[in-house]
Assembly symmetry: C2
Homo-oligomer: 324 residues x 2
């Protein structure tokens, strides 16, 4: 199975309104709730690709209850209607005293433009964090083929948390991918993860350089075994021990980029577990990411669009050499 | 006791952010939740004034659970810390299948300006509405001295709902106040409530006139026994069988007007139950309303400010005559 970690999981709420005008009152015409947080999104895409996936992290309070209900119940997917059990991630979230955060996406009905409001998340106590470390170690040792560490840290968790989770994954011999930002990314990279997937902004903050190739090489020198930078509509740039590649979508697409990065992570992770060569992993990641931008619902990917895009992704680069 | 009805109760959530900029992402620095909906707000102020108050309406889903928890539990206030049981409304909300709505107030930390997002509320079934009518009749007949019908109607409840609740209150001999807008107000007024409290906009929509005195007189002719119009910073205009009065705060105040109308309703209702003469009821309503604008937390009133303002409210008018 593939394990995804979301320390700051969320109940994602989408509101549709005619147009958001600051300092006025809006009647929301449509309310949609779904389980959120980057690792949860990654797990959803991995499940849709047919991979057995386990989500862990924290859930608490009434919002945590709703999150777990929407996720399919605590390991009892057969009780419910909806997607088949195989297509749903297994819930291994750890209960905490604090309440899971909400995120609110306010979508202007006419243009689709989105305003995002993100709650900070629950304060995680030292005892809860210690409890999580044991839980995580057990999950790593019960058949994890790979682990993804995704998203922001909730209040109360130290900035070196991802570095610690990376060291534990490496000790257990489980390949580990890191997708976060800021200081947790900096500390995490130094702990030598197998793969990091920063976007252009995260990469610039980490390395001080806005030149993608230079910044990506720099991120590798800081400790990451491989770096795949997501460059928005330009696709992905991969700097790996096996070579350097660029992968680009066939056309510039318009749509909602929410979740595109999470779909790319799912593509990379599934390719790693299936031992695909790098160009095939990158094609998959770009096709999934583009199919997510094209999907009408934020964070979902369009399965037919994915199948059509996959053979049309362009991958250029040189395999078989170690970049300097 | 005083009964307040909130058919579309809410979990009021306040977010504090640096400034709301449409189509960008915001980290919320502070999250506050409290029980909301106009009738719930009115009950909170009545309780603070020392009146035994019962809140009814509907609550459902996880948001309904949180609402009831914050309200003080289902009639077991002694179990909890917080305000003393005497100062807390009694929860007689009826459970429903649908989930209680949320309202989100996004407050710009620097200016205090507020952007409001209101969910529509749960769909109430015909059976749930029938169940409510029996529940309401029982509450009316267990010592209700007055009843306030407040706020919007949730989806699924017919626009004549308040008219029906007014007829039942009149049949039970309980004085009834209506504070709503649009078609439910129009239908409600025709059912001859003892008092309506529209603001200037609601009054204009009801009568077609923006001239306060004319519009207020017109609202009375449509069926309301007495009309108290709230004119924002200009205070209140009352047209009653006993006379016509204007009541104005001593100074123009700056602050957050959220809940000011609900505090005015609580002032009028408590004055009615205490059989105060109209000028005293209006002074109380204006002082409470102004003390609510002055309070730092939206919808709370500042008790010391209220005590200081009360003797300084100006009431002008002529009692003892029936206006034409």
């Amino acid at each position: 199975m593939i394990l995804t970690v979301t320390l700051n999981a969320a109940l994602d709420i989408t509101y549709r309104t005619p147009a958001l005008v600051p300092h006025t009152t809006h009647r929301v015409s449509e309310v949609v709730e779904r389980p959120g947080g980057k690792g949860v999104n990654v797990a959803r895409v991995l499940s849709a690709l047919g991979h057995r996936t386990v989500v862990t992290g924290f859930a608490g309070g009434r919002t945590g209850d709703v999150l777990r209900e929407l996720l399919g119940g605590s390991g009892r997917p057969a009780d419910r209607s909806g997607p088949s059990p195989a297509a749903r991630p297994v819930d291994a979230l750890l209960p905490i005293a604090g309440a899971t955060r909400r995120t609110i996406a306010v979508v202007d009905a006419s243009t689709g433009d989105t305003t995002q409001l993100n709650e900070p998340g629950p304060v995680v106590s030292a005892a809860e964090w210690t409890g999580f470390l044991s839980h995580y170690d057990r999950l790593l040792r019960t058949g994890a083929e790979a682990v993804a560490l995704c998203g922001s840290l909730p209040p109360g968790i130290h900035v070196g948390a991802y570095a610690e989770l990376i060291r534990r994954a490496r000790a257990a011999g489980v390949p580990v991918l890191l997708d976060t930002s800021g200081e947790p990314l900096r500390r995490g990279v130094a702990a030598r993860p197998d793969l990091v997937k920063p976007n252009a902004d995260e990469l610039a903050r980490l390395t001080g350089s806005r030149e993608p190739e230079r910044a990506t090489q720099d991120a590798r020198r800081r400790g990451a075994h491989a770096v795949v930078a997501s460059l928005g509509p330009d696709g992905l740039l991969a700097v790996t021990p096996d070579g350097v590649w660029r992968a680009a979508p066939p056309d510039t697409v318009r749509g909602n980029p929410t979740g595109a990065g999470d779909s790319a992570v799912a593509g990379l992770l599934s390719g790693l577990v299936e031992r695909l060569p790098w160009p095939a992993r990158l094609s998959r990641a770009v096709a999934l990411s583009t199919a997510t931008v094209l999907a009408p619902a934020a964070g979902e990917f369009d399965a037919r669009g994915y199948a059509e895009l996959l053979p049309r992704v362009t991958v250029t680069g040189t395999g078989g050499r170690e970049p300097e």
